[in-house]
């Protein structure tokens, strides 16, 4: 769960263009076709009670709390799984519904610990909220029947605990693992009264396939899956929106705080790079900021063999400035320089290069990122005119074929990998070019159309071979090339790419991949309606 109570519409948005008009509790509402009654009601400001529904997941219809009455229809359908229809007249609050909902809640609570006051989710629990919403005052069945109250807690994951005694088997965690993260680590084992969430067959969370992205923890409406930091510190009291400092995905997070203490990091739904998802690093691995080895005071020493001496900021800065000026006087203006960091903010980097150019009075400024960026920068700048990637991340959701070269997103860019996997589950195809059989070659519900296990260091040869095949088999988009590209440069390049050295039969030996495999993959890329290339840092200048 999260402190930041983003509006939860219960079910995902429908992207349908067709609009439908209906009446809910006497109010007219117009929504796209395919919208659930639950979502349409929320759009009017009406919250239908719910437990198993949340708008980051497809409707499931298991909790039986969101029942509604529809005029002219029998029974009480679930509003999350019932799509709107034109002219529908829906009632969300009737005596019949109130009684049904209360009955459902009674059943849940008859098998749930009554320790709300000391529960880690106290004040941040949807089950608690729903008990209040339906006006639950007593449980007719008592608490003595068969129950799960003594189920064993799994504390194996370092960041969150799993307490099955509090589980209502809504399967939000299972669906978050499948639909949002795409790992398929969790499942509901057994059926009926014995059904329970499990991470593989009798595995603990730590020993399972779980990648600890925390999507399940965020999706859990109770204290069943709970951050250990929340158990330790309690529910956060304020929240600050910020950007993760790990990889180049740059996820938006809400840092949920209690005074100066970070209680948890919750990925923001509003973040365009991540849309409410996160990985184990961004969500959980922020403890280094208060690690005991962190240095908090400036230090000096006259020789690198001496021990460090803590000094004031004033002393450290004056010492540095004086020393730098002395070195320039003795050895010349160019005797000093700086390196800026690709971990620092834009503003911090800008002032470092300004320090070098304006105060050091030279251009001795560089960054480690230059080494890996310059191939990208150089290549894309030369061919297209800009030193950067061409798309936004969401673009991958429209790709039909993905060519992935020398990158392992499930490990290095996990949140983008989840987006990519979602698109692959929808039917897009992927060609993986990597010496190693990475997870995107084959993992649950993912199977690459081709894995080109090339020898390390042969990317360029592979890309040239693709181009050669596309030219040879006339899969070129001539209209595009003629209208958008420089003719002379193209002719020149065409002569080069047609050479024997770029032919699949020749290149196959260099790569250690069969020529026919190359041909099939190149055709797949070339024939796609929309084909996208994603590559790892620094597939070199030539590729």
């Amino acid at each position: 769960m999260s402190l930041e109570k983003d509006l939860d519409y219960g079910t995902p948005e429908s992207l349908c263009q067709e609009l439908i008009s209906l009446e809910i509790d006497g109010h007219q509402v117009v929504v796209p076709e395919g919208t659930s009654i639950m979502r349409a009601a929320k759009q009017l400001g009406t919250s239908i009670p719910k437990l198993c529904a949340t708008d980051s997941l497809e409707a499931f219809g298991s909790c039986r709390l969101c029942l509604v009455e529809i005029e002219g229809r029998r029974g009480t359908p679930a509003s999350c799984t019932t799509p709107v229809e034109a002219g529908m007249i829906v009632h969300t609050q009737t005596q019949k519904l109130a009684k049904l909902r209360k009955g459902v809640m009674e059943l849940y609570i008859s098998d749930h610990p009554l320790d709300c006051l000391t529960c880690s989710a106290n004040g941040d629990c949807e089950l608690q909220d729903m008990a209040g919403t339906v006006g639950l005052r007593d449980v007719r069945y008592g608490y003595q029947g068969d129950n799960h109250l003594n189920a064993t807690r799994d504390n194996s994951n370092p960041y969150f605990s799993f307490d099955p005694s509090k589980c209502i088997v809504c399967s939000r965690c299972v669906r978050a693992c499948d639909e949002v993260q795409g790992t398929f680590a969790l499942t509901i084992s057994k059926r009926g009264f014995e059904s329970h969430v499990s991470a593989g067959i009798e595995d603990s969370f730590l020993d399972s396939e779980c990648v600890s992205c925390g999507a399940c923890v965020q999706a859990c409406p109770t204290a069943t899956l709970m951050e250990k930091t929340v158990i330790e510190h309690g529910v956060p009291e304020h929240s600050i929106e910020t950007t993760c400092a790990y990889c180049g995905v740059g996820c938006t997070f809400n840092a949920e705080m209690k005074g100066d203490q970070v209680v948890r990091m919750v990925p923001a739904k509003s973040g365009k790079a991540n849309e409410g998802h996160a990985c184990v690093k961004g969500r959980f691995a922020w403890g280094y900021a208060s690690h005991k080895e962190r240095i908090l005071k400036p230090m000096l020493r006259s020789s690198i063999d001496d021990p460090w001496r803590e000094v004031s900021w004033e002393e450290a800065i004056q010492f540095t400035a004086k020393k730098f000026r002395e070195l320039q006087q003795e050895y010349g203006r160019k005797a000093i320089g700086g390196i800026s960091s690709s971990r620092a903010t834009n503003e911090e980097v800008f002032v470092v290069q300004k320090l070098v150019r304006a105060a050091f009075e030279n251009n001795n400024i560089d960054t480690c990122a230059r080494v890996c960026h310059s191939p990208t920068g150089f290549g894309l700048n030369k061919t297209l005119g800009t030193s950067a990637g061409t798309q936004d991340f969401i673009s991958v959701e429209s790709a039909d074929v993905i060519l992935l070269i020398g990158a392992n997103p499930t490990d290095a860019h996990p949140v983008f990998a989840s987006r990519m996997k979602k698109r692959l589950r929808e039917g897009a195809q992927i060609i993986v070019v990597d010496p190693r059989r990475i997870d995107l070659v084959e993992s649950p519900h993912i199977k690459a159309a081709a894995h080109l296990a090339i020898l390390p260091g042969t990317n360029v040869a592979l890309i040239n071979a693709f181009a050669h095949i596309i030219v040879e088999e006339d899969l070129v988009d001539w209209d595009y090339v003629n209208h958008r590209c420089d003719k002379d440069l193209f002719e020149n390049w065409l002569a080069f790419i047609k050479r024997e050295q770029n032919s699949p039969s020749y290149v196959a030996k260099v790569l250690g991949v069969e020529a026919e495999t190359l041909r099939k993959a190149a055709r797949l890329y070339a024939r796609a309606e929309r084909a996208a290339i994603y590559y790892g840092l620094g597939v070199t200048a030539h590729s």
Binding site: P158, T243, G248, V262, G271, A285, W286, Y288, H291, E293, R294, I295, P298, W308, W313, K323, F324, L327, G337, I339, S341, R343, A344, T345, N346, E347, E348, V349, F350, Q353, A358, A359, N364, I365, C372, T376, T383, S387, G389, T390, Q391, F393, I394, S395, E397, N408, D411, F416, R436, G457, V460, A461, V471, V476, N492, W493, I497, I533, G538, H542
Partner: protein, 396 residues
């Protein structure tokens, strides 16, 4: 370039669902490059030799600027070894761990009369430093990061700088102490200056970011709401340029003495040189770097799962535990280099810069054999580590 050729050839640029996209390793690789961390380019990738650009910076900053490109990192190290380059200010980069040729870097850093390191932790580079300026974590920073889709996102302080100073303040105060009057009241003023001096960022401000959430550059009068997809209708350079991309095989070749190819990558739970993730519970998933070796290659060498093996290249050697794996084909071995103790830069050759993750450079010919001891360098690393941190731990 080859990938851009391929995309143009098939008409896959300038539309949703297409494109050529780098997946950048560090959070602000894009941003630090955009911000002009280059010896030959101002912010926005404009040459220092370009008079008009330089003039705009000179007018804004109130002084004349050098029109000659400065030293790149390798030049700095070479000049330091020669003795003509004497002082360095290093912001948050652990060059002593991430640079390929450690002996050369060590020699260079030892030769500096004043090395200033600004970081969260006493990293490997700080072992050679004279001044250590404590930096801030992202939880304390106030500014922007630019991700791999050119998106500027706000970084807002959850807590005050635990060190008492923002990193930009440190830099600013060094400039002031050196006699250059650099002044900002807060980091939004730095972004205003960036926007003023960089055409692709002209429309960016903290106010606009706070209003819109995030923005993808170019963001200016032509694209006031930023640019999600580039090169729609036409390329930024005009007509797309097909460039010749000749394949040049790596110099690194397997030999009877070094018959295996080593390639490297990353694992989910750890991040780059591990300075952050090593200091979290993420170590339960990855307490050490492991060498993945194909069962066929392992059997030839009598290596079993979990055995300690010595990984040797013509450059040096380091020890790692083995994991038998069929993820690679026989003849290729794989490891991550998240732990300094693994000594990546001991084994990899001058062109195999694993830290920048350049696959073309990530090729090293190696041999693996069973061993019962860590390498000499690893022992040296442990001894040096103990010596450096001992006085510090005593004082605290």
């Amino acid at each position: 370039m080859g990938m851009a050729n391929l995309a143009m050839l098939t008409g896959n640029l300038g539309f949703n669902g297409c494109g050529v996209n780098p997946l950048r390793g560090q959070n602000n690789v894009q941003g630090s490059c955009d911000m002009g961390s280059f010896p030959h380019e101002f912010p926005g990738y404009r040459p220092v030799s370009d008079d008009l650009t330089r003039l705009s910076f000179e007018n804004d900053w109130g002084l004349r600027l050098d029109n000659e490109p400065g030293y790149r990192i390798p030049n700095m190290f070479n000049e330091a070894v020669k003795g003509s380059f004497k002082g360095m200010y290093i912001q948050g980069e652990d060059v002593a761990q991430s640079d390929p040729d450690i002996h050369h870097v060590e020699a260079a850093l030892r030769n500096l009369d004043c090395l200033v390191v600004q970081d969260l932790f006493l990293n490997e580079t700080a072992k050679y430093a004279h001044v250590f300026l404590p930096g801030t974590s992202f939880l304390e920073k106030n500014g922007t990061f630019t991700n791999a889709e050119r998106r500027l996102g706000r970084v807002r302080p959850a807590i005050k700088p635990r060190t008492g100073k923002h990193e930009w303040q440190i830099t600013m105060e060094i400039a002031q102490a050196m006699g250059y009057p650099m002044h900002y009241d807060d980091s939004s003023q730095i972004m205003d200056e960036i926007a003023r001096l960089t055409p692709t960022f002209a429309g960016v401000s903290f106010d606009k970011l706070d209003r819109d959430g995030s923005l993808q550059w170019p963001c200016n009068d032509e694209a006031p709401n930023g640019t999600p997809i580039m090169h729609i209708d036409k390329f930024v350079r005009g007509l797309g340029a097909f460039e010749i991309t000749e394949f040049i095989p790596t110099e690194e070749k397997v030999t009877p003495k070094f018959p295996l190819l080593l390639t490297t990558g990353r694992i989910l739970s750890q991040y780059n040189v591990g300075a952050q993730t090593r200091r979290t519970e993420n170590n339960v998933w990855h307490p050490e770097d492991i060498l993945e070796i194909h069962p066929y290659d392992a059997a030839e060498r009598g290596i079993k799962n979990g055995d300690l093996i010595m990984l040797k290249s013509r450059k040096g050697e380091t020890s790692l535990h083995a994991l038998l794996s069929e993820r690679m084909q026989p003849g290729v071995v794989y490891t991550t280099f998240h732990m300094p103790f693994s000594g990546a830069n001991i084994v990899t050759t001058e062109y195999s810069d694993w830290a920048t993750n350049c696959p073309e450079y990530k090729v090293t010919a190696v041999q693996c054999s069973l061993t019962d001891h860590i390498s000499e360098w690893q022992q040296h690393f442990l001894d040096y580590q103990a010596k450096q941190t001992k006085p510090l731990l005593q004082s605290s």
